[in-house]
């Protein structure tokens, strides 16, 4: 059974590249343009991993992560922050909230795929 990945970002061009890549690596890809869309999807699906942007309109990455961590159903879900924020304080904040990895923009798609694979298996 293929793994499910949820990509949450408000930049359509980034999302498009990631979607193409992960689909090619046999993932079931779900797309959300912000936190609220992500939460809506989460209610129907429990992905194996979430790629989560932080700076988004409406519900941002931190809030989405909170939702995930607060719910027992998503205990096994891994989360990677994808963000332009690269200050130590931001990284620490994310790690403290229980994020599994932190990838700063701009990133290498290949490395991201490897990281996702490693986290899941």
């Amino acid at each position: 059974m293929s793994k499910k990945i949820l990509i949450v970002d408000d930049e359509p061009n980034i999302v498009m590249s990631l979607e193409y890549t992960f689909k090619k690596h046999k993932y079931d890809v779900f797309i959300a343009r912000d936190g609220s869309e992500a939460i809506a999807i989460l209610k129907a699906e429990v992905p194996d991993i979430i790629l989560l942007d932080i700076m988004m309109p409406k519900v941002d990455g931190y809030q989405t992560l909170q939702f995930v961590k607060a719910n027992e159903a998503y205990k096994e879900v891994k989360v990677i922050f994808l963000t332009a924020k690269n200050k130590n304080s931001d990284i620490e904040k994310g790690l403290a909230m229980g994020v599994n990895a932190y990838v700063t923009k701009p990133f290498s798609v290949k490395k991201l795929v490897k990281k996702v694979d490693a986290l899941i298996n």
């Binding site: 408000d10 930049e11 061009n13 980034i14 498009m16 590249s17 990631l18 193409y20 890549t21 090619k24 700076m55 988004m56 309109p57 409406k58 519900v59 332009a84 924020k85 200050k87 923009k105 701009p106 990133f107 290498s108 798609v109 290949k110």
Partner: protein, 896 residues
């Protein structure tokens, strides 16, 4: 005129004065009562009946020499800024209540000296007061055409006696309201000021009457008088000797303006603030000049109309009476009466304070006081002063009845001046020379007074009262060199200047010689330093040097006896607070002792308070050297303290400024950090997309062509976005730093707007948005950089297109012309700007807090750039908050 009507006028007039004084006491804190004009007018208490009547007499008898009495004060006035200011400052510091207090304190709070000065003043002034009473009774008799009766019948039928008693009552009522004699008496001073106006006005009235009504102006009088005998001698100084006399007379009145007890009272004790001196130094001389304008013409007019048979002192009354003008004569009488009242009132007030504080209390009542209750003491002190007031006035009256009738106003006045002048060396030299000693002061005053008695008072009394002139002509026991009017053969001076010269000569000689020869004790040197260096801040309470043992409780108990518990506790509490001394302190220091002395000084006089304080403390003598050393140390300590305070203040200020600057920097730093953060974030987003997309393209050669094309156009789009962003950032920084140079020229605004609309039209058409531009027939011209202004309009228009709904969107542009500005309004019917965003939309990178919005398309720089551009053109850009639907942008630009 009927004597009863004159008496009723007198009584009415006195009642009015009482009323005025009472009113002024009630308004004691108001500006009406405490201003420089009242102060200056109160100084005019100098112009007594002697001025009012006597000047005319002198002018008629001996010409312009009457002027000397006024030239002295006029010369003295500019010096007030230095001398009087210093005296006032010292007096306020030490709560001095009279000239006797002042001199005695200067010489170490010397009881004997205070008493001596008091005696000299009483001897000098009592006849002077009686002279005023004489003027009242003589003018009364002239006005009512009744013969002088005082010396022949009972005092109880003499109007003057009753006037004297009424005046005493007035002084007793308004002068002894508080025990503290250093306190001001607004009631008396204000009534004196009013009297000063009245006497001047009435005197000018009679002057104008005589000069322009009885005669045809000044030249008419001059022409007529110049034809009489002896005229030359009246208007000129005929010899060197006359010049010397003239000079001495000026010196005499120069001293008088400082030293007369009444002048000291009004100019020092009743002074509200040193600032009033500034006005007084020109206004008071002006007053004196006004007073003297008509003197000479009245005198000449009187000589011409009345001849040499009547007393020229009363020309001012006799001239209108001769013309049957009783109204004017009555006014003149009231003017003279005013002069009398103010002089008598202030003189008695000053003398009674001196008598009580410097003679009666320190020499007689201290023991009794120490055993009484505070309320009783207040009562005693007030009564002593009241008795002194009545005794002085009754004494003056008796003096007048017994001796004065034969004497002219002028001679008695001058004798008074010479007697008072004996205080001059101790007063003036002591003020500026710290070596002047107490013994020197005592002996100089005594010797000067003795010489005055010998050369002036004695012969004067023998000659005018006992008609015995042999002693004057031949000298005592026929010893010619000792003839009182030509002592040691000096025969060219008038008796007054002669006495003045010799008494001053010996007075100053004794003062200087003894001061130089003897070393004063430490206490007097201590006060000498405080007086001479009164301006120095280091010489206040700290300057009092004292050594020995004293307990706060003893001093407190003593103060209880004299001031009462409440007042004492209040005063001591303030003192302890001021110097930050713990309230539980047992030992008293020099400051407290000095402070306590000052507390008592106001009511008891300096000498008494020193004696009282000395009785409860164990003082050890201090050597003179120690005094000087301590003062020097004080000076250094305080000046270094001052420097320290100054430095620490500067430091605090600097720290404060640094903190501020630091805070500012931090804020700027933070803003810059945030800015860089945002810039980085904004730049990273398209870069991330470009990188990811390129990577995908590179790694997936098998990708279908259509998808490849899509990915490539995405890269193109993000690259464009990136370069636009970079351009905007650079643009904004250029604008914000002011490095951008605008190419401002005169343009047609409508044309520019049309160009902007044309430029944006393709996007508008795409979204089917309508743009309406209002018609404005008149051409609006304005100076601006057209490319930049196009940027502004395009930015706002494209924002509007972005935020309106497809197909329904409408944008309208309107102009509103003012006189030298034009308002351009660009309004749309889109979703509008959330209220909380309105204040921030012109900030760079501002992103709406309203999370319901999609992330705004664009850089977030457009409005920030627009704002910079508009403001650089001296314009304004803002959005209206009250618009319910859509957004309305306003741009105001200067135009022609």
């Amino acid at each position: 005129m009927n004597s009863y009507s004159v008496i009723s006028i007198i009584i009415l007039y006195l009642l009015v004065l009482f009323g005025i004084a009472y009113w002024a006491e009630r308004k004691a804190k108001k500006r009406w009562v405490n201003n420089a004009y009242v102060y200056t007018l109160s100084l005019a208490v100098y112009c007594s009946a002697w001025t009012y009547y006597g000047s005319v007499g002198i002018a008629a008898r001996s010409g312009v020499s009457f002027l000397t009495t006024y030239l002295g004060p006029i010369i003295a006035a500019p010096l007030w800024i230095v001398v009087l200011k210093k005296v006032i400052r010292i007096s306020k510091q030490h709560k001095i209540s009279s000239i006797a207090d002042f001199i005695s304190l200067r010489y170490g709070n010397n009881r004997f000296l205070g008493g001596l000065v008091t005696v000299v003043c009483v001897i000098g002034i009592l006849p002077y007061i009686s002279l005023q009473l004489k003027a009242v009774s003589e003018t009364f008799s002239i006005l009512t055409s009744t013969p002088l009766t005082a010396s022949t019948s009972s005092v109880f039928t003499d109007t003057t006696f009753y006037v004297a008693i009424l005046l005493a009552t007035f002084v007793a009522f308004f002068g002894t309201r508080t025990v503290d004699a250093a306190r001001r008496r607004q009631g008396i001073i204000f009534s004196v000021a009013v009297e000063s106006i009245l006497k001047l006005v009435f005197f000018l009235a009679i002057g104008i009457y005589v000069t322009f009504y009885l005669f045809d102006g000044t030249s008419d009088i001059f022409n007529k008088i110049s034809k009489t005998d002896n005229f030359e001698s009246l208007i000129s100084l005929t010899s060197i000797e006359a010049g010397i006399n003239w000079y001495f007379m000026i010196a005499l009145s120069f001293f008088a303006i400082f030293l007369l007890p009444r002048q000291f009272q009004v100019s020092v004790i009743e002074n509200v603030t040193e600032k009033h001196l500034k006005k007084a130094i020109w206004l008071f001389p002006l007053y004196l000049l006004l007073f003297n304008i008509f003197v000479i013409f009245i005198a000449w007019g009187g000589r011409l109309s009345l001849g040499n048979t009547v007393n020229p002192d009363y020309f001012t009354l006799l001239l209108p009476l001769k013309e049957q003008n009783t109204v004017l004569a009555t006014l003149v009488f009231l003017g003279g009466f005013s002069a009398v009242i103010s002089m008598v009132v202030v003189s008695t007030l000053a003398l009674s304070t001196m008598l009580s504080n410097n003679l009666i209390i320190p020499y007689g009542f201290l023991d009794k006081f120490s055993r009484s209750h505070p309320e009783r003491i207040d009562y005693y002190i007030k009564n002593i002063r009241r008795i002194a007031i009545f005794s002085l006035i009754v004494g003056a009256y008796l003096f007048y009845i017994n001796f004065n009738i034969q004497l002219s106003l002028f001679s008695i006045g001058l004798i008074s001046f010479v007697v008072i002048a004996q205080l001059a060396p101790s007063f003036f030299i002591g003020l500026f020379w710290n070596r002047g000693s107490a013994r020197a002061a005592k002996l100089s005053i005594i010797s000067g007074s003795l010489i005055t008695t010998y050369t002036l008072i004695l012969p004067f009394v023998l000659d005018s009262i006992f008609d015995n002139a042999t002693y004057i002509e031949n000298g005592p026991f026929g010893f010619g060199l000792l003839r009182p009017y030509q002592l040691f053969g000096i025969d060219f001076l008038t008796p007054v200047t002669h006495a003045f010269f010799w008494s001053m000569f010996f007075n100053i000689l004794v003062y200087l010689a003894i001061s130089l020869a003897s070393v004063g004790n430490y206490r007097e040197r201590n006060y000498a330093e405080m007086f001479v260096h009164s301006n120095a801040h280091y010489l206040q309470e700290n300057a009092f040097v004292w050594k020995g043992e004293a307990y706060v409780q003893d001093i407190r108990n003593m103060l209880y006896t004299f001031l009462g518990r409440r007042k004492t506790d209040h005063a001591l509490h303030q003192f302890f607070n001021k110097y930050d001394i713990p309230l539980t302190t047992e030992r008293a220091d020099a400051r407290l002792i000095n402070f306590s002395e000052k507390l008592l000084t106001g009511s008891l006089g300096g000498a008494s308070s020193r004696i009282l304080i000395a009785s409860v403390i164990q003082e050890q003598p201090v050597s003179l050297v120690e005094v000087l050393e301590i003062l020097e140390e004080n000076k250094k300590a305080i000046s270094s303290n001052k420097t320290l305070t100054q430095k620490s203040k500067e430091l605090t200020k600097l720290t404060e400024e640094l903190k501020k600057a630091n805070h500012q920097l931090q804020l700027q730093d933070k803003l810059k950090d945030e800015f860089l953060d945002t810039v980085a974030h904004e730049l990273k987003t398209p870069i991330t997309a470009i990188r990811a997309t390129s990577e995908v393209l590179k790694d997936n050669e098998d990708m279908p062509d259509s998808l490849q094309q899509e990915f490539l156009s995405n890269i193109l789009h993000d690259s464009k976005r990136l370069s636009k962003l970079i351009n905007n950032i650079l643009d904004l920084e250029k604008l914000a730093s002011g490095r951008e140079i605008f190419d401002k020229k005169e343009h047609n605004l409508q044309k520019t707007i049309d160009r902007a609309v044309k430029g944006i039209l393709p996007i508008a058409k795409e979204k089917q948005v309508r743009i309406k531009v209002s018609k404005e027939i008149n051409i609006i011209k304005s100076r601006y950089d057209e490319d930049r202004m196009l940027q502004v309009f395009t930015n706002i228009l494209s924002n509007a297109i972005k935020f309106v709904e497809k197909e329904k969107g409408e944008i309208s542009i309107r102009y509103k012309r003012g006189t030298n500005a034009v308002l351009i309004q660009i309004e749309d019917n889109g979703k509008g700007i959330p209220k909380e965003d309105v204040p921030h939309i012109f900030d760079k990178f501002y992103q709406s807090k309203n999370q319901n919005l999609q992330k705004p398309v664009g850089s977030g720089f457009g409005l920030a750039i627009s704002k910079h551009i508009v403001e650089n053109h001296k314009g304004k850009i803002w959005v209206d908050e009250e618009v319910i639907t859509g957004a309305r942008f306003n741009i105001k630009l200067p135009c022609k």
